[in-house]
Subunit: 217 residues, 4 copies
């Protein structure tokens, strides 16, 4: 019965796998036979918003997967509330390809369309971020985390998670200046989140022989 | 060989992951380049039944996943019959996006269409509910459940599962009054099922140190 | 490193999950907004070959999953050849929705079309069956199976697997009599395979306390 | 917490499962009802580039899965960098169906189209190969591999992985001679990679009783 967290991970990973690949599947419609009379190089070049949407989706959802992976390593028990928070997190994650596709497609639209799609996009990542914060807060509060997890580390992670919604909102605000700049800021946030900082989840130390034996038996 | 139940969970989770994301994938066709000449805000607003179908599918299938998760925690052995019941359960679960899409799309159709699609929808959830009941009944009868599971708890779960089909039928009947009301009743049932009641599956107690060590090694 | 078989199972299950749900996803195109001017009941009734293809795919691929599940329970090691056989098995399994869709769609076509699609369909299941037989033969020959598996049981399973290709060919031959009859014979074979016979893989006995403790810890 | 590598495997397998099946899903659009007035045999024959793209994708992505499976068997710990390398590997893997579809579709196009699509295709497999090499290099350097792995074997694997990018480039170069020949060379490389050579990852020996007991308990 203590296996619960691993089933939640498997289930979430199934959804992440679909989200990460769906934009690549969408690309298939740009095959020449279906390009509607255009020349191939022209048809492929015209589809650039789809490639951009693929990369954005992969970047954002890949980063969320990394965070999910880092968080759930420490979860040793689940309850109904944590499962519901995780489902709601996934509800927003699964909508990312749709809003990322709208966002990148409308970089060649009017200013009003750019703002509308940027607002829809930021709504998705804010929703995801909200339930990420709630999951971590609930897991800490109800002692669902590994007892050896240093409480100061847990607090540092919570603080860092809290930082994300305002940063997303700042990136969104730049759509009123320049939509490309706004998009670059989102991708910069992804890049920054990959750099290790104090308060980051620790890397496994190479000396922890017990962990090796658990897998390597 | 005792790993069997975990493979059933992995397999079922793969199907749940597709079911939960497929409506989000469908949304991709409402991107502006494919909206057929409409203005973007108009095209997006016109697609509201798809957003509704996404939320209904996520709500209903997410709730079924929670129930499946709670039930299979207690399954320690599987036999051929339980696997077949589980496959038939998944046959109906995989049809939910189709019927939920029809249901929400026809809220703007005629009364006859609303009733037809509501009947198809309730058929799917009744089928799913039937095989959920049969799975639990068979697992109890053939001692496939964990020996430490309190028989009174197992009985309480069985009673609760039995309640679901009539409740679904009542929600369906309201389509003859108002289809929106009928839909709200379905979503209310999802909400109610998330609240813990006597007879509910217990939360892991924070004191169960043995379980922690199983994962936290 | 002894975990290998479980990764093969996870990977195969991902493919099975897509195969089982893809026909349900295809159904989504029959939503009323996309039915091209037909009345809803008429549009839904006209789509019956798709429902049939969904049920056939679920039946056939579900049965293959059951067989895969039963076989891989006994696999304790993998080698490169077994992995390649498994990949080739999956290559044919993933083509089942396509040929099942063609088969059911052409029940309303000409006799020549019925025979062509029936031949394509039987080709897929024969290919799948071939690599199932090869997998079991290779695993037995190279001692990749659990050492406690009774050799007589392993032989009985091999004999039973060998029976499947000729039975499929007989079901196929009936397409020259009546294509509906041929289809019913396929589904009858699925039904028969679910019934336990001597030589079937054993059900877990309720007395095997050691297995319970492995999961129920 | 030592379970990390297994979650990375599950997640990657979800993506591999989608990649391997997506071309089979695409085939569904060639069903007769959607073939646009053509005769069935003609419509099916006309779709040969899609069958080819399915087989190429399955061959290439199946081989990558085998390599991923063989590599990750030896990974006992993960860090942030290895996870990011794995995500970038998957970014290129998920694009393979798109470029394989373009490649096979343009075998009946002009020479310029053949070269363009061959260049896009080789770009995908080079990207995948780059991050495969980086993953193995990083895992060796930061002692994320099983301590019992023979360093000479690890080095031999690294040398073999390094061989792949130049071989891919040679196969690509043949597109200027004959695009069919270039394609056959790619498939030959897949075939060669399945043959065991010195420096290959070892097969599990049948004598290693300890491994048996880990799974067979």
């Amino acid at each position: 019965m203590a296996r619960d967290p691993s089933r939640v991970e498997t289930f979430s990973d199934g959804i992440f796998a679909v989200v990460l690949t769906v934009m690549a599947v969408e690309l298939l419609q740009y095959g020449p036979a279906r390009a509607g009379g255009r020349e191939l190089p022209d048809a492929l070049a015209h589809a650039w918003p789809s490639y951009l949407a693929y990369v954005i989706t992969f970047g954002i959802a890949g980063q969320i997967w990394l965070g999910h992976h880092n968080m759930w390593r420490y979860v040793v028990r689940v309850d109904q509330v944590l499962l519901v928070f995780n489902l709601l997190l996934l509800l927003f994650v699964a909508a990312i390809p749709f809003t990322a596709d709208l966002l990148s497609d409308n970089l060649r639209g009017s200013a009003a369309e750019q703002r509308l799609t940027a607002a829809l996009y930021v709504g998705t990542v804010l929703g995801e971020s909200l339930f990420f914060n709630l999951s971590w807060w609930w897991a800490r509060r109800h002692r669902l985390l590994h007892p050896d997890l240093d409480p100061r580390l847990a607090r540092a992670v919570a603080r860092r998670l809290l930082l994300r919604p305002p940063l997303y909102l700042i990136a969104f605000a730049f759509v009123f200046v320049d939509p490309i700049l706004s998009l670059l800021l989102y991708l910069l946030l992804v890049g920054l989140s990959l750099i290790r900082r104090p308060g980051d989840l620790p890397r496994f130390s190479a000396e922890a022989g017990g962990e090796v034996s658990d897998r390597g038996r």
